[in-house]
Symmetry: C4
């Protein structure tokens, strides 16, 4: 009884702050997943089409990794600042304040680990003596920490709310596991895509939770204590996962087509350049 009261109070209070919070997190993860899948597919396609080195150089991937690191640190910073602002703006009563503070610290811990991920990414590509697999490890540990926190995040929540967070935790745990397997077995494009799809599912699930927990129209709000809603969420989870497969498939088709199209366009000018270059080399040899 006390729990459910506390929850209602919490909900009453958190609605303004948390729909955007979940929505923002979902959007960030969706963008990250799309970028990861694009990067993996691009690498895979480039490896198969040997001439593609004229189109996309190793330099490009190097810079992309650096940029990714900076962006991840940026995102984490925005998250931390956002938490700080929410805390400043709202005035809480004493007990609410304590619980809200703890929940905010939960989010903070996640952001800290994503900041570490970003930092490691930058350091690994600047300092060549660092092992590159470190990035995968920090990625997997960031996911594991996130899963761990979401798992311990659900005290005093309703059945459906708890289940939603558990599914999120489960998904993030799987993403961390895939990242850890990637860390052990290097360069497997299918594993990278699997991780992307799980991250994408995470983004979608943040959206879903935002709409379930903080409905815009209070009249059509979900009954958070109805068990059949749990069974319905299970279906959503699976169908969203099927959706990520479709999105990554379309992404794959698009990128393959784009690379082939650019290559065929570049081909004539390239052979021209190559001929010129060879002539130059020959003349140099003669000299």
């Amino acid at each position: 009884m006390n729990d459910s009261e506390a929850r209602t109070d919490l909900k009453h209070l958190k609605v303004p702050g948390d729909f955007p919070g979940h929505f923002l997190a979902g959007t960030l993860f969706l963008i990250m997943a799309l970028w990861w899948s694009t990067k993996s597919i691009l690498k895979h396609v480039c490896k198969q089409q040997k001439r593609s080195s004229s189109l996309i150089t190793k330099e490009f991937f190097f810079r992309a990794e650096l940029l990714e690191g900076i962006v991840i640190i940026g995102m984490a910073s925005i998250g931390i600042i956002g938490l700080y602002c929410t805390l400043k703006i709202h005035q809480f009563s004493d007990k609410e304040s304590k619980l809200t503070l703890i929940l905010h610290w939960h989010h903070l811990s996640m952001y800290v680990f994503f900041a570490i991920l970003g930092g490691t990414k930058i350091l690994c590509f600047i300092i060549s003596s660092l092992p590159v697999s470190l990035v995968k490890l920090t990625l997997s540990s960031a996911f594991f920490v996130e899963a761990f926190i979401f798992y311990n995040h659900t005290h005093g929540r309703s059945v459906v709310d708890t289940f939603g967070h558990q599914l999120l935790s489960f998904d993030v745990f799987l993403a961390g596991l895939v990242a850890f397997i990637e860390f052990l077995t290097k360069n497997n494009v299918v594993l990278e895509l699997l991780r992307s799809s799980l991250t994408m599912l995470q983004g979608m699930w943040f959206y879903q939770m935002a709409f379930v927990l903080y409905p815009k129209n209070r009249d059509h709000a979900w009954d958070l204590s109805d068990h059949s809603n749990i069974m319905f969420l299970t279906i959503c989870f699976c169908l969203y996962y099927a959706l990520t497969y479709a999105i990554i498939g379309i992404n794959y088709a698009l990128i393959t087509w784009l690379v082939k199209w650019r290559l065929s366009k570049l081909c004539t000018s390239e052979t021209q350049l190559l001929k010129n270059h060879e002539q130059q080399e020959e003349s140099e040899d003669e000299m």
Copy 2:
């Protein structure tokens, strides 16, 4: 009390539809498992008997994979259409309708993932640039999704019913795990047979559940709340698993014998052909 009431209502209602449903699913999985084990054994035997390439060409396996993809999509479509029909025919009361709808959506999600599996199979063997290990991944994810759904499928059911579904979920999870390990370590015939045996067990378990939950003779129906029935189901599960070993063993013996018999029959005509061919080549060389 409410749960058990709901269940009785449900059972009252679902009996016509669900015995065939479970039976059909079981049959499909049994056929799939038999075909998978046959394929794996055939590949293994052909690798050992080097002359067997005259008997079974790579072309044959290629076409078999394509056909398998089409058949799996067909099965999934039949399942989806079957669900749709059952929904149309029966008239449900309001609350029953909601729960039945959700259970149907559960089955739908599974069928969707098997359809994705079939689609991936076809695409991977048509488009050569796609990594073949993708098929194993979609297979394992189809199994994982199935296990996940069966695990969340048991709300408001009796003890024995729940346990039966949990065992099913456990078995399907193991099959998914084996498929995932196959995805990581390629070309291990024993793992493929292990997956076949787990799939076969799944088929048998669908049969068992059909007979336990929807008995033809109502007088000899199982007591679904008796704990000793759980202990009995445990035994069945293990002995069925032993049975799958026996079936696959017999299958192995049969196929090995068949291939050797065909090879010995073909041998004379083959050597004849080879000689002719060599003579031709020699005459070509002379030319």
Copy 3:
């Protein structure tokens, strides 16, 4: 209350049959573990000492595997016959009879899987086309099935009894896991010794359970509902495990010493033989 009553009845009844049953199973597993560790150490030592091929030939290991297969089948048969006899001798009341029958079928399922293991062992070493890793797989599945059954074996038992069976199930599961890892990564002597130590622990635990559950002196019987006994069993489990390390270590030292001693003894006669053999060969060459 009903549970505990049923248990007391059971205990009253099973005491004559079950102390020997647990004791026998424990002895069989201890012997098996000792033999496995001896075999692994012998193989490892022979690989290092290259001259040892004169002492222990491949033929020896081949025959040892065959014999092991036959012995395992024999053990399983004894178990099955033993179950049958116990069933015949005792007269049970109706309800007791049902539960006892189910518990006997539980044991039967385990024996069946060990019989399969023995059969596979024999077949794999007779028919060369069968993959040898099949033996490891059937071994791991035999352990997994045993763990699964022990986990579902504890209905209506006291706290300490249940905990003891859970620890057993846990240990057997670990042994199965190690066997499965062996199946994936071939020829790792340390893994084989780990499996031996877990099997040995299993044997010791059967002994411990026999003494805990069926004490000879009824006055010093354990209080099966006292939680501090659980904490004490935890300690026993760990210290027994440390004991298996010591036993395997002593075994290793003994075998290494024995092989070296035999080699040094054989050395002179061997060089003699070798010289003779070489002379023969030379004379043959001359001829």
Copy 4:
């Protein structure tokens, strides 16, 4: 009620003995983790800087391993002796005595396994025929046993106390898992650092538990039955983990800098020596 009473009694009694106990264990694990990370980083840096063999020889690592083995045995002995002394000094009532004895035996089992680890370390580096991977296995089994015992250590404790021990058990389990993966995949510096960080986290967590359970100032003691304290401990756990990353990062930077500095200093004298050596060799050749 009875449980909580028992706990209060226990706490009353154990306060003098256990703050130092937890503090000592934490310090030992922190030192071990720092040493492990230093060793791993040193090996990694030495592998990259090829001239470093003049600075740190294989002999050095060999002796370090030996010393580590002796120190671990020493630590375990201190622990065992410490337990014995605590037992002698305090006078317990009968029931308290039994529980305290069991808890002491729990600690003893852990120390025994760490003593085994130390012994294996020494034996593996003295006897060359023993497989080196044995050390990793005993390490992982020491951690697993520790995790297992902590998991079964929490009977009759308050919510927060239990949760703290569960987190400890979880962390130790992860460390054991990483050690086991190291055992399977040899020579991965990142895995070694991961294990160090988890061990360091373990040390920190011992400190944290010491301060939570045995506060110096009784007025600011934690409320051990407040659920929000659990959520707070979750945060601490994650942030400590982030801290271990920072410490290991700083350690890495320091060691790299130190090795480079020493190498640049040694360089001139070394080249001098090398020249002298070469001249000697040349003169020997001439002779």
